[in-house]
């Protein structure tokens, strides 16, 4: 039976020197954009409706996360360093379930936006492009 699982307890971790380290102060984590791709396979003598066939490949997802920004935080600084010296880095998302599920994403593109607004704490958002199959 399918169950509703609360978002509580979900964490995003970044690999730093082989140790997965949790990214602090997150408010939300979103993993989106994973989809299989197709190509137009319509032929001149085909039926009325155009056809599409699977290419056999899938788009890798993008990880987006929102949280608070602490300019002195060691983990956030390590993440920000990926933008000046980008290297493929593994990220892990862990969920709360009976046998804890964790998914590893090889990541190659990194973005970090900061926001200072009158009615909110210093905020930041992460955008992380993944590559290959999540494991």
């Amino acid at each position: 039976m399918a169950n509703k699982v609360k978002s509580k307890g979900t964490a995003l971790l970044m690999e730093i020197s082989a140790v997965y380290t949790a990214i602090p102060l997150l408010k939300s984590i979103s993993i989106s954009g994973e989809k299989s791709t197709t190509y137009d396979s319509t032929v001149l003598d085909g039926p009325v409706h155009m056809t599409k066939d699977p290419t056999g490949y899938s788009e890798a997802p993008t990880i987006a996360a929102d949280g608070f920004y602490d300019p002195d935080d060691t983990v956030q600084l390590a993440y920000i360093a990926l933008m000046s010296a980008p290297v493929e880095t593994n990220f892990k998302v862990t969920y709360v379930d009976t046998t804890p599920t964790s998914v590893i994403y090889a990541c190659t593109g990194f973005g970090f936006d900061r926001t200072a607004a009158m009615i909110d704490g210093l905020a930041c958002s992460y955008s992380i492009e993944t590559s290959g199959t999540p494991t």
Partner: protein
């Protein structure tokens, strides 16, 4: 310069050097496909050396295991302890402000899935906290009863 992990930490086995390989352990976990697989981790107490020792202390994942590391870190014991509590909450996904306060107070220790619900794991002060809630509710009830009686006199 050495630091000791204060809790189990997931490892990226594909990035381990020889020294880290010796520290690796595995436990059962579920992967993206929902299959139960061995998941690599560094057990609490694992000792890391060099610059990584300092980095792990700064994130709150480890504590200095020798004077050299403590000196290089340059933080008070209180600050190191605070970093560890903060990190543990983050790694357990405890981001809600109220839950973080309960964690610091030893009332909750994390989350677990029970059936179709995510429940809190009870901390060492859970019973005392629940007793205090029950006591507060009793007091509220007594106060409500008093109010009702006073209201009755008015009628």
């Amino acid at each position: 310069m050495k630091a000791r992990l204060s809790l189990d930490q997931f490892a990226d086995a594909s990035k381990c050097n020889e020294a880290q390989q010796k520290l690796l352990s595995f436990k059962a976990g579920r992967n993206a496909a929902g299959k139960t697989v061995p998941v690599a981790y560094f057990p609490a107490g694992s000792v890391f050396e060099g610059d990584q020792a300092i980095a792990l202390c700064r994130t709150g994942q480890a504590v200095p295991a020798d004077d050299e590391c403590a000196e290089a870190l340059g933080l008070s014991e209180e600050k190191i302890a605070a970093l560890q509590v903060d990190y543990k909450m983050t790694s357990l996904g405890i981001n809600d402000k109220g839950d973080r306060e309960l964690y610091r107070a030893g009332v909750i220790a994390g989350y677990k899935k029970v059936g179709d619900k995510v429940e809190v794991i009870h901390g060492p002060n859970w019973k005392a906290y629940q007793a205090a809630i029950a006591e507060a509710e009793e007091l509220d009830d007594e106060l409500d009863d008093d109010d009702d009686e006073e209201g009755g006199d008015d009628e």
